[in-house]
Amino acid sequence: MSAFETFLSAREIWEVPLAASIVAGALLGALGVYVVLRRTVFVSAALTQVSTLGLVLTLLVEERVHIETEHATEQLAVAILFSVAGALVLGALRPRRLPAEATVGAAWVTASALVVLGVSQLVHAAHDLGGMVFGNAVAVPAGDLAVIVLVAAVCTAVHLVFAKELAFASFDPETAQALGLKVKLWDAVLFLTIGLAIPVTARALGALPVFAFLTLPAAAALLLKVGFRPAFAVAAGLGILAAGGGYVLSWIWEIPTGATMVALAALFLVPGALLRRGGG
Protein backbone atom coordinates (compact mmCIF):
# COMPACT_ATOMS: atom_id res chain seq x y z
CA MET A 1 0.00 0.00 0.00
CA SER A 2 1.44 3.38 -1.03
CA ALA A 3 1.77 6.26 1.42
CA PHE A 4 -1.11 8.05 -0.29
CA GLU A 5 -3.33 4.96 -0.07
CA THR A 6 -2.47 4.68 3.63
CA PHE A 7 -3.45 8.31 4.02
CA LEU A 8 -6.80 7.74 2.27
CA SER A 9 -7.58 4.71 4.37
CA ALA A 10 -7.11 6.68 7.60
CA ARG A 11 -9.88 9.17 6.82
CA GLU A 12 -11.43 9.12 10.32
CA ILE A 13 -8.14 10.35 11.73
CA TRP A 14 -7.51 13.26 9.37
CA GLU A 15 -10.89 14.49 8.20
CA VAL A 16 -11.52 16.86 11.14
CA PRO A 17 -7.94 18.22 11.39
CA LEU A 18 -7.76 18.66 7.60
CA ALA A 19 -11.10 20.48 7.53
CA ALA A 20 -9.94 22.72 10.42
CA SER A 21 -6.67 23.48 8.62
CA ILE A 22 -8.46 24.34 5.38
CA VAL A 23 -11.01 26.65 7.02
CA ALA A 24 -8.23 28.29 9.09
CA GLY A 25 -6.06 28.69 5.98
CA ALA A 26 -8.90 30.37 4.07
CA LEU A 27 -9.83 32.68 6.95
CA LEU A 28 -6.28 33.77 7.76
CA GLY A 29 -5.41 34.09 4.08
CA ALA A 30 -8.27 36.52 3.49
CA LEU A 31 -7.68 38.53 6.69
CA GLY A 32 -4.02 38.70 5.72
CA VAL A 33 -4.84 41.06 2.85
CA TYR A 34 -5.55 43.79 5.43
CA VAL A 35 -2.63 42.69 7.62
CA VAL A 36 -0.19 43.05 4.70
CA LEU A 37 -1.64 46.20 3.13
CA ARG A 38 -1.89 48.02 6.46
CA ARG A 39 1.76 47.10 7.12
CA THR A 40 0.79 45.39 10.37
CA VAL A 41 2.38 41.99 9.75
CA PHE A 42 4.13 42.04 13.11
CA VAL A 43 0.92 42.95 14.91
CA SER A 44 -0.28 39.43 14.07
CA ALA A 45 2.97 37.95 15.43
CA ALA A 46 2.57 39.96 18.65
CA LEU A 47 -1.08 38.93 18.97
CA THR A 48 -0.18 35.25 18.70
CA GLN A 49 2.19 35.70 21.64
CA VAL A 50 -0.37 37.74 23.59
CA SER A 51 -3.02 35.05 23.15
CA THR A 52 -0.46 32.41 24.21
CA LEU A 53 0.22 34.48 27.31
CA GLY A 54 -3.49 34.27 28.08
CA LEU A 55 -3.32 30.46 27.87
CA VAL A 56 -0.25 30.29 30.13
CA LEU A 57 -1.88 32.55 32.73
CA THR A 58 -4.98 30.34 32.67
CA LEU A 59 -2.87 27.26 33.37
CA LEU A 60 -0.94 29.07 36.10
CA VAL A 61 -4.17 30.09 37.80
CA GLU A 62 -5.35 26.50 37.58
CA GLU A 63 -2.19 25.17 39.23
CA ARG A 64 -1.54 27.86 41.80
CA VAL A 65 -4.97 28.97 42.93
CA HIS A 66 -6.68 25.66 42.20
CA ILE A 67 -9.38 27.29 40.14
CA GLU A 68 -10.71 24.86 37.60
CA THR A 69 -9.79 26.19 34.14
CA GLU A 70 -8.74 22.95 32.55
CA HIS A 71 -11.65 22.94 30.13
CA ALA A 72 -10.61 23.75 26.60
CA THR A 73 -13.49 26.22 26.17
CA GLU A 74 -12.39 28.32 29.12
CA GLN A 75 -8.77 28.29 28.02
CA LEU A 76 -9.82 29.37 24.55
CA ALA A 77 -12.06 32.10 25.97
CA VAL A 78 -9.14 33.57 27.94
CA ALA A 79 -6.85 33.36 24.90
CA ILE A 80 -9.51 35.14 22.79
CA LEU A 81 -9.93 37.80 25.48
CA PHE A 82 -6.18 38.51 25.52
CA SER A 83 -5.90 38.46 21.75
CA VAL A 84 -8.91 40.72 21.15
CA ALA A 85 -7.77 43.20 23.81
CA GLY A 86 -4.26 43.16 22.31
CA ALA A 87 -5.68 43.59 18.81
CA LEU A 88 -7.73 46.61 19.83
CA VAL A 89 -4.71 48.26 21.49
CA LEU A 90 -2.07 47.39 18.88
CA GLY A 91 -4.43 47.98 15.95
CA ALA A 92 -5.23 51.48 17.15
CA LEU A 93 -1.57 52.51 17.30
CA ARG A 94 -0.61 55.51 15.23
CA PRO A 95 2.96 56.82 15.12
CA ARG A 96 3.28 59.65 17.64
CA ARG A 97 6.28 59.77 19.97
CA LEU A 98 7.49 56.36 18.81
CA PRO A 99 7.01 54.54 15.52
CA ALA A 100 4.08 52.10 15.84
CA GLU A 101 6.36 49.12 15.10
CA ALA A 102 8.42 49.93 18.21
CA THR A 103 5.33 49.43 20.39
CA VAL A 104 4.36 46.29 18.48
CA GLY A 105 7.89 44.92 18.92
CA ALA A 106 7.80 45.76 22.62
CA ALA A 107 4.45 43.93 22.97
CA TRP A 108 5.86 40.89 21.14
CA VAL A 109 9.06 40.54 23.19
CA THR A 110 7.30 41.30 26.48
CA ALA A 111 4.58 38.74 25.83
CA SER A 112 7.17 36.19 24.67
CA ALA A 113 9.26 36.73 27.80
CA LEU A 114 6.20 36.44 30.05
CA VAL A 115 5.20 33.21 28.27
CA VAL A 116 8.65 31.72 28.95
CA LEU A 117 8.52 32.88 32.60
CA GLY A 118 4.98 31.55 32.99
CA VAL A 119 5.86 28.17 31.49
CA SER A 120 8.86 27.90 33.81
CA GLN A 121 6.45 28.13 36.76
CA LEU A 122 4.12 25.41 35.49
CA VAL A 123 4.54 22.01 37.13
CA HIS A 124 1.83 19.74 35.77
CA ALA A 125 0.37 21.52 32.78
CA ALA A 126 3.60 22.25 30.91
CA HIS A 127 3.19 19.11 28.81
CA ASP A 128 -0.26 20.32 27.61
CA LEU A 129 1.12 23.61 26.56
CA GLY A 130 3.06 22.38 23.53
CA GLY A 131 -0.12 21.46 21.69
CA MET A 132 -1.91 24.63 22.78
CA VAL A 133 0.92 26.99 21.90
CA PHE A 134 2.40 25.35 18.87
CA GLY A 135 -0.77 23.68 17.63
CA ASN A 136 -1.33 20.10 16.70
CA ALA A 137 -2.94 19.99 13.31
CA VAL A 138 -2.70 16.18 13.32
CA ALA A 139 -5.27 15.91 16.10
CA VAL A 140 -7.97 18.60 16.20
CA PRO A 141 -11.13 17.85 18.20
CA ALA A 142 -14.48 18.28 16.41
CA GLY A 143 -15.36 21.02 18.91
CA ASP A 144 -12.37 23.09 17.78
CA LEU A 145 -13.40 22.68 14.15
CA ALA A 146 -16.89 23.95 15.01
CA VAL A 147 -15.40 27.02 16.72
CA ILE A 148 -13.12 27.74 13.74
CA VAL A 149 -16.06 27.44 11.32
CA LEU A 150 -18.18 29.73 13.51
CA VAL A 151 -15.44 32.37 13.78
CA ALA A 152 -14.78 32.13 10.03
CA ALA A 153 -18.50 32.64 9.33
CA VAL A 154 -18.69 35.67 11.66
CA CYS A 155 -15.53 37.25 10.22
CA THR A 156 -16.67 36.65 6.63
CA ALA A 157 -20.09 38.17 7.33
CA VAL A 158 -18.54 41.25 8.98
CA HIS A 159 -16.13 41.74 6.09
CA LEU A 160 -18.85 41.31 3.46
CA VAL A 161 -21.36 43.65 5.10
CA PHE A 162 -18.86 46.38 6.03
CA ALA A 163 -16.41 45.89 3.17
CA LYS A 164 -16.47 49.47 1.90
CA GLU A 165 -16.14 51.06 5.34
CA LEU A 166 -13.26 48.78 6.35
CA ALA A 167 -11.50 49.42 3.03
CA PHE A 168 -11.89 53.22 3.12
CA ALA A 169 -10.91 53.57 6.79
CA SER A 170 -7.82 51.40 6.21
CA PHE A 171 -6.74 52.90 2.89
CA ASP A 172 -7.11 56.59 3.70
CA PRO A 173 -8.10 57.14 7.36
CA GLU A 174 -7.48 60.90 7.14
CA THR A 175 -10.04 61.45 4.39
CA ALA A 176 -12.44 58.87 5.76
CA GLN A 177 -12.49 60.71 9.08
CA ALA A 178 -12.76 64.10 7.38
CA LEU A 179 -15.85 62.83 5.55
CA GLY A 180 -17.47 61.65 8.76
CA LEU A 181 -16.57 57.97 8.86
CA LYS A 182 -15.86 56.62 12.36
CA VAL A 183 -12.35 55.44 11.58
CA LYS A 184 -11.56 54.28 15.13
CA LEU A 185 -14.71 52.16 15.15
CA TRP A 186 -13.90 50.50 11.79
CA ASP A 187 -10.29 49.92 12.85
CA ALA A 188 -11.62 48.26 15.99
CA VAL A 189 -14.00 46.08 13.96
CA LEU A 190 -11.17 45.00 11.67
CA PHE A 191 -8.75 44.16 14.47
CA LEU A 192 -11.54 42.48 16.42
CA THR A 193 -11.93 39.97 13.58
CA ILE A 194 -8.16 39.45 13.43
CA GLY A 195 -7.91 39.18 17.22
CA LEU A 196 -10.72 36.61 17.18
CA ALA A 197 -9.23 34.52 14.37
CA ILE A 198 -5.70 34.24 15.77
CA PRO A 199 -6.22 32.27 19.02
CA VAL A 200 -8.93 30.07 17.52
CA THR A 201 -6.78 29.00 14.57
CA ALA A 202 -3.54 28.91 16.61
CA ARG A 203 -4.99 26.06 18.68
CA ALA A 204 -5.34 23.99 15.54
CA LEU A 205 -2.42 25.13 13.41
CA GLY A 206 0.09 26.58 15.88
CA ALA A 207 1.69 29.99 16.24
CA LEU A 208 4.12 29.83 13.31
CA PRO A 209 1.54 28.71 10.70
CA VAL A 210 -0.94 31.35 11.91
CA PHE A 211 1.64 34.10 11.48
CA ALA A 212 2.60 32.63 8.10
CA PHE A 213 -0.99 32.33 6.86
CA LEU A 214 -1.69 35.95 7.81
CA THR A 215 1.24 37.01 5.64
CA LEU A 216 2.21 34.65 2.82
CA PRO A 217 -1.06 33.93 0.93
CA ALA A 218 -2.03 37.62 0.96
CA ALA A 219 1.46 38.68 -0.14
CA ALA A 220 1.33 36.10 -2.94
CA ALA A 221 -2.12 37.29 -4.04
CA LEU A 222 -1.04 40.94 -4.02
CA LEU A 223 2.09 40.13 -6.02
CA LEU A 224 -0.20 38.64 -8.69
CA LYS A 225 -1.79 42.10 -9.07
CA VAL A 226 -5.32 40.74 -9.17
CA GLY A 227 -6.90 43.89 -7.67
CA PHE A 228 -8.28 44.61 -4.20
CA ARG A 229 -11.47 42.56 -3.98
CA PRO A 230 -10.17 39.53 -5.92
CA ALA A 231 -7.10 39.52 -3.64
CA PHE A 232 -9.29 38.26 -0.76
CA ALA A 233 -10.55 35.28 -2.80
CA VAL A 234 -7.11 34.48 -4.20
CA ALA A 235 -5.46 34.75 -0.77
CA ALA A 236 -8.16 32.53 0.76
CA GLY A 237 -7.67 30.01 -2.08
CA LEU A 238 -3.90 29.99 -1.58
CA GLY A 239 -4.46 29.58 2.17
CA ILE A 240 -6.63 26.52 1.47
CA LEU A 241 -4.05 25.04 -0.92
CA ALA A 242 -1.17 25.62 1.52
CA ALA A 243 -3.08 24.28 4.53
CA GLY A 244 -4.66 21.30 2.76
CA GLY A 245 -1.64 20.48 0.61
CA GLY A 246 0.76 20.93 3.52
CA TYR A 247 -1.34 18.61 5.69
CA VAL A 248 -1.47 15.84 3.08
CA LEU A 249 2.21 16.13 2.16
CA SER A 250 3.32 16.12 5.81
CA TRP A 251 1.30 12.94 6.37
CA ILE A 252 2.69 11.19 3.29
CA TRP A 253 6.30 12.27 3.82
CA GLU A 254 6.05 12.01 7.63
CA ILE A 255 7.40 15.51 8.21
CA PRO A 256 6.20 18.30 10.59
CA THR A 257 2.74 19.50 9.54
CA GLY A 258 2.90 23.21 10.43
CA ALA A 259 6.31 23.69 8.83
CA THR A 260 5.17 21.92 5.64
CA MET A 261 2.14 24.21 5.39
CA VAL A 262 4.35 27.29 5.83
CA ALA A 263 6.90 26.10 3.27
CA LEU A 264 4.13 25.45 0.74
CA ALA A 265 2.60 28.87 1.39
CA ALA A 266 6.02 30.45 0.83
CA LEU A 267 6.28 28.67 -2.53
CA PHE A 268 3.15 30.53 -3.69
CA LEU A 269 5.14 33.76 -3.57
CA VAL A 270 7.25 32.60 -6.50
CA PRO A 271 4.78 33.14 -9.41
CA GLY A 272 3.95 36.68 -8.30
CA ALA A 273 7.62 37.51 -7.70
CA LEU A 274 8.50 36.24 -11.19
CA LEU A 275 5.62 38.22 -12.67
CA ARG A 276 6.89 41.42 -11.01
CA ARG A 277 10.45 40.67 -12.02
CA GLY A 278 9.29 40.27 -15.59
CA GLY A 279 7.74 43.73 -15.39
CA GLY A 280 4.19 42.37 -15.52
Binding site: V161, K164, F168, F171, T175, L179, V226, G227
Partner: protein
Amino acid sequence: MSPGPLVTLEGATVGYGRRPILEGVDLSVEAGDFLAVVGPNGGGKTTLVRSVLGALPLLAGRRTLRPGVRVGYVPQRDHVDPVWPFTAGEVVLMGRVPALGPGRRPGSADQEAVRAALGLVGIEALAGSAYGELSGGQRQRTLIARALAAEPTLLVVDEPTNGMDPSAELATMDLLRDLHEGVRIAIVMVSHRLEAVANYARSLAFVDKDQALFRVGSVDEMLRPEALGALYGRPVAVRELDGRRLVYPVNGQVRR
Protein backbone atom coordinates in the same frame (compact mmCIF):
# COMPACT_ATOMS: atom_id res chain seq x y z
CA MET B 1 -29.93 76.13 0.74
CA SER B 2 -30.19 78.99 3.22
CA PRO B 3 -27.89 82.01 2.72
CA GLY B 4 -24.89 82.73 4.94
CA PRO B 5 -21.42 81.27 5.34
CA LEU B 6 -20.88 77.61 4.52
CA VAL B 7 -18.72 77.13 7.58
CA THR B 8 -17.47 79.42 10.34
CA LEU B 9 -14.99 79.24 13.18
CA GLU B 10 -15.61 81.76 15.99
CA GLY B 11 -13.02 82.41 18.69
CA ALA B 12 -11.60 79.01 17.91
CA THR B 13 -8.58 77.41 19.53
CA VAL B 14 -7.29 74.66 17.30
CA GLY B 15 -4.78 71.99 18.28
CA TYR B 16 -4.19 68.37 19.20
CA GLY B 17 -5.05 66.82 22.55
CA ARG B 18 -4.66 69.65 25.03
CA ARG B 19 -1.96 71.43 23.02
CA PRO B 20 -3.25 74.58 21.30
CA ILE B 21 -1.66 75.42 17.95
CA LEU B 22 -3.61 78.58 17.11
CA GLU B 23 -5.89 80.64 19.32
CA GLY B 24 -8.59 83.22 18.66
CA VAL B 25 -9.29 82.09 15.10
CA ASP B 26 -12.27 83.75 13.41
CA LEU B 27 -12.82 82.40 9.92
CA SER B 28 -15.80 82.37 7.61
CA VAL B 29 -16.01 80.54 4.28
CA GLU B 30 -18.74 81.81 1.97
CA ALA B 31 -20.28 80.20 -1.09
CA GLY B 32 -18.06 81.13 -4.05
CA ASP B 33 -14.93 81.60 -1.93
CA PHE B 34 -11.51 80.41 -3.01
CA LEU B 35 -9.52 80.69 0.19
CA ALA B 36 -5.85 79.75 0.26
CA VAL B 37 -4.39 78.95 3.68
CA VAL B 38 -0.72 79.83 3.45
CA GLY B 39 2.19 79.62 5.84
CA PRO B 40 5.50 77.92 6.51
CA ASN B 41 5.82 74.14 6.85
CA GLY B 42 4.68 73.00 10.29
CA GLY B 43 2.91 76.32 10.82
CA GLY B 44 -0.51 74.84 11.63
CA LYS B 45 -2.23 75.04 8.24
CA THR B 46 -3.37 71.43 8.15
CA THR B 47 -4.46 71.61 11.80
CA LEU B 48 -6.61 74.63 10.98
CA VAL B 49 -8.14 72.98 7.95
CA ARG B 50 -8.88 69.75 9.83
CA SER B 51 -10.70 71.89 12.39
CA VAL B 52 -12.68 73.58 9.60
CA LEU B 53 -13.63 70.10 8.36
CA GLY B 54 -14.75 69.07 11.83
CA ALA B 55 -12.27 66.17 11.82
CA LEU B 56 -10.40 67.75 14.73
CA PRO B 57 -12.47 68.95 17.70
CA LEU B 58 -11.92 72.57 18.71
CA LEU B 59 -10.18 73.13 22.06
CA ALA B 60 -12.28 76.27 22.49
CA GLY B 61 -14.70 78.37 20.46
CA ARG B 62 -17.38 77.33 18.02
CA ARG B 63 -17.60 75.75 14.56
CA THR B 64 -20.81 76.11 12.58
CA LEU B 65 -21.50 74.19 9.38
CA ARG B 66 -24.51 75.46 7.46
CA PRO B 67 -27.16 72.68 7.19
CA GLY B 68 -27.06 70.95 3.81
CA VAL B 69 -23.41 71.80 3.12
CA ARG B 70 -21.52 68.78 1.77
CA VAL B 71 -17.77 68.84 2.26
CA GLY B 72 -15.24 67.14 0.00
CA TYR B 73 -11.67 66.60 1.15
CA VAL B 74 -8.49 66.04 -0.85
CA PRO B 75 -5.60 64.94 1.39
CA GLN B 76 -1.93 65.38 0.62
CA ARG B 77 -1.11 62.91 -2.13
CA ASP B 78 1.72 61.27 -0.22
CA HIS B 79 -0.61 60.52 2.71
CA VAL B 80 -2.36 57.95 0.51
CA ASP B 81 -0.45 54.67 0.26
CA PRO B 82 -0.13 53.62 -3.40
CA VAL B 83 0.57 50.01 -2.43
CA TRP B 84 -3.18 49.36 -2.09
CA PRO B 85 -4.34 47.66 -5.31
CA PHE B 86 -7.34 49.88 -6.00
CA THR B 87 -8.22 51.16 -9.45
CA ALA B 88 -8.73 54.91 -9.89
CA GLY B 89 -12.47 54.22 -10.22
CA GLU B 90 -12.54 52.31 -6.91
CA VAL B 91 -10.72 55.17 -5.17
CA VAL B 92 -13.23 57.68 -6.53
CA LEU B 93 -16.14 55.47 -5.44
CA MET B 94 -14.94 55.85 -1.84
CA GLY B 95 -16.19 59.43 -2.00
CA ARG B 96 -19.73 57.98 -1.97
CA VAL B 97 -19.17 55.71 1.05
CA PRO B 98 -20.07 58.11 3.91
CA ALA B 99 -23.39 59.05 2.29
CA LEU B 100 -24.26 55.42 1.53
CA GLY B 101 -23.96 54.25 5.12
CA PRO B 102 -22.94 50.83 6.45
CA GLY B 103 -24.30 47.71 4.78
CA ARG B 104 -25.48 49.42 1.59
CA ARG B 105 -23.85 48.64 -1.73
CA PRO B 106 -23.14 51.37 -4.29
CA GLY B 107 -25.80 51.54 -6.99
CA SER B 108 -26.02 52.90 -10.53
CA ALA B 109 -26.34 56.50 -9.25
CA ASP B 110 -23.05 56.08 -7.41
CA GLN B 111 -21.35 54.63 -10.49
CA GLU B 112 -22.70 57.54 -12.54
CA ALA B 113 -21.36 60.03 -9.97
CA VAL B 114 -17.95 58.35 -10.22
CA ARG B 115 -17.98 58.62 -14.03
CA ALA B 116 -19.02 62.27 -13.83
CA ALA B 117 -16.31 63.09 -11.28
CA LEU B 118 -13.61 61.37 -13.34
CA GLY B 119 -14.87 63.27 -16.39
CA LEU B 120 -14.71 66.61 -14.55
CA VAL B 121 -11.02 66.13 -13.80
CA GLY B 122 -10.29 64.73 -17.26
CA ILE B 123 -9.25 61.17 -16.40
CA GLU B 124 -12.34 59.16 -17.33
CA ALA B 125 -10.15 56.84 -19.42
CA LEU B 126 -8.09 55.93 -16.34
CA ALA B 127 -11.03 54.55 -14.32
CA GLY B 128 -9.74 50.98 -14.61
CA SER B 129 -6.05 51.81 -14.11
CA ALA B 130 -4.28 50.90 -10.87
CA TYR B 131 -4.02 53.96 -8.61
CA GLY B 132 -0.47 53.03 -7.60
CA GLU B 133 0.68 53.05 -11.22
CA LEU B 134 -0.61 56.54 -12.04
CA SER B 135 1.66 59.59 -12.29
CA GLY B 136 1.67 62.13 -9.44
CA GLY B 137 -0.60 64.47 -11.37
CA GLN B 138 -3.03 61.67 -12.26
CA ARG B 139 -3.18 60.52 -8.63
CA GLN B 140 -3.92 64.09 -7.59
CA ARG B 141 -6.77 64.24 -10.12
CA THR B 142 -8.07 60.90 -8.84
CA LEU B 143 -8.17 62.24 -5.27
CA ILE B 144 -9.89 65.42 -6.44
CA ALA B 145 -12.41 63.27 -8.36
CA ARG B 146 -13.07 61.26 -5.19
CA ALA B 147 -13.88 64.47 -3.35
CA LEU B 148 -16.13 65.58 -6.24
CA ALA B 149 -17.97 62.24 -6.24
CA ALA B 150 -19.49 63.32 -2.92
CA GLU B 151 -21.03 66.28 -4.84
CA PRO B 152 -19.60 68.80 -2.38
CA THR B 153 -20.51 72.46 -1.95
CA LEU B 154 -17.17 73.02 -0.20
CA LEU B 155 -13.94 71.41 -1.34
CA VAL B 156 -10.98 71.35 1.06
CA VAL B 157 -7.65 70.59 -0.62
CA ASP B 158 -4.40 70.00 1.30
CA GLU B 159 -1.15 70.87 -0.53
CA PRO B 160 -2.31 69.61 -3.96
CA THR B 161 0.83 70.65 -5.83
CA ASN B 162 3.46 69.21 -3.46
CA GLY B 163 6.26 67.50 -5.34
CA MET B 164 4.91 68.39 -8.77
CA ASP B 165 6.89 69.80 -11.68
CA PRO B 166 5.83 73.33 -12.80
CA SER B 167 3.70 72.02 -15.66
CA ALA B 168 1.72 69.59 -13.46
CA GLU B 169 1.41 72.28 -10.78
CA LEU B 170 -0.09 74.72 -13.27
CA ALA B 171 -2.45 72.06 -14.63
CA THR B 172 -3.66 71.18 -11.11
CA MET B 173 -4.22 74.83 -10.18
CA ASP B 174 -6.06 75.43 -13.48
CA LEU B 175 -8.26 72.43 -12.72
CA LEU B 176 -9.14 73.81 -9.27
CA ARG B 177 -9.92 77.22 -10.82
CA ASP B 178 -12.17 75.55 -13.42
CA LEU B 179 -14.00 73.63 -10.69
CA HIS B 180 -14.40 76.80 -8.67
CA GLU B 181 -15.69 78.86 -11.58
CA GLY B 182 -17.40 76.17 -13.68
CA VAL B 183 -18.94 73.85 -11.09
CA ARG B 184 -19.21 76.71 -8.57
CA ILE B 185 -17.65 74.94 -5.63
CA ALA B 186 -16.18 76.92 -2.75
CA ILE B 187 -12.55 75.92 -2.23
CA VAL B 188 -10.31 76.04 0.80
CA MET B 189 -6.79 75.15 -0.21
CA VAL B 190 -3.70 74.68 1.93
CA SER B 191 -0.34 75.52 0.43
CA HIS B 192 3.09 76.45 1.72
CA ARG B 193 3.87 77.95 -1.70
CA LEU B 194 2.34 81.40 -1.91
CA GLU B 195 3.29 81.91 -5.54
CA ALA B 196 1.32 78.79 -6.45
CA VAL B 197 -1.94 80.24 -5.12
CA ALA B 198 -1.48 84.00 -5.58
CA ASN B 199 -3.05 83.94 -9.04
CA TYR B 200 -5.97 81.68 -8.20
CA ALA B 201 -7.29 82.40 -4.70
CA ARG B 202 -9.71 85.23 -3.91
CA SER B 203 -8.77 85.41 -0.26
CA LEU B 204 -5.76 84.39 1.78
CA ALA B 205 -5.27 83.25 5.35
CA PHE B 206 -1.75 83.50 6.79
CA VAL B 207 -1.00 80.94 9.47
CA ASP B 208 2.13 80.49 11.56
CA LYS B 209 1.91 79.01 15.03
CA ASP B 210 5.45 80.10 15.94
CA GLN B 211 4.40 83.74 15.56
CA ALA B 212 0.89 83.08 16.95
CA LEU B 213 -0.19 84.48 13.59
CA PHE B 214 -3.60 84.05 12.01
CA ARG B 215 -4.70 86.72 9.57
CA VAL B 216 -7.28 86.51 6.81
CA GLY B 217 -8.27 88.95 4.05
CA SER B 218 -8.68 89.46 0.34
CA VAL B 219 -5.74 88.64 -1.93
CA ASP B 220 -5.15 92.35 -2.60
CA GLU B 221 -5.02 93.12 1.14
CA MET B 222 -2.80 90.21 2.00
CA LEU B 223 -0.33 90.35 -0.87
CA ARG B 224 1.33 93.48 0.46
CA PRO B 225 5.07 93.19 1.08
CA GLU B 226 4.68 94.19 4.77
CA ALA B 227 2.15 91.42 5.46
CA LEU B 228 4.20 88.86 3.59
CA GLY B 229 7.40 89.97 5.33
CA ALA B 230 5.73 89.44 8.71
CA LEU B 231 4.68 85.94 7.65
CA TYR B 232 7.99 84.73 6.24
CA GLY B 233 10.37 86.74 8.44
CA ARG B 234 12.20 88.22 5.44
CA PRO B 235 11.37 90.78 2.76
CA VAL B 236 9.07 89.51 0.03
CA ALA B 237 8.41 91.32 -3.23
CA VAL B 238 5.19 91.18 -5.25
CA ARG B 239 5.27 92.06 -8.97
CA GLU B 240 2.91 91.65 -11.89
CA LEU B 241 4.12 90.28 -15.20
CA ASP B 242 1.85 89.51 -18.16
CA GLY B 243 -1.18 89.62 -15.88
CA ARG B 244 0.29 87.14 -13.37
CA ARG B 245 1.43 87.95 -9.84
CA LEU B 246 4.96 86.95 -8.97
CA VAL B 247 5.84 86.60 -5.31
CA TYR B 248 9.47 86.07 -4.35
CA PRO B 249 11.82 86.65 -1.40
CA VAL B 250 14.48 89.36 -1.60
CA ASN B 251 17.55 90.19 0.46
CA GLY B 252 17.33 92.63 3.36
CA GLN B 253 15.67 93.09 6.74
CA VAL B 254 11.96 92.99 7.48
CA ARG B 255 10.47 96.20 8.84
CA ARG B 256 8.18 95.23 11.71
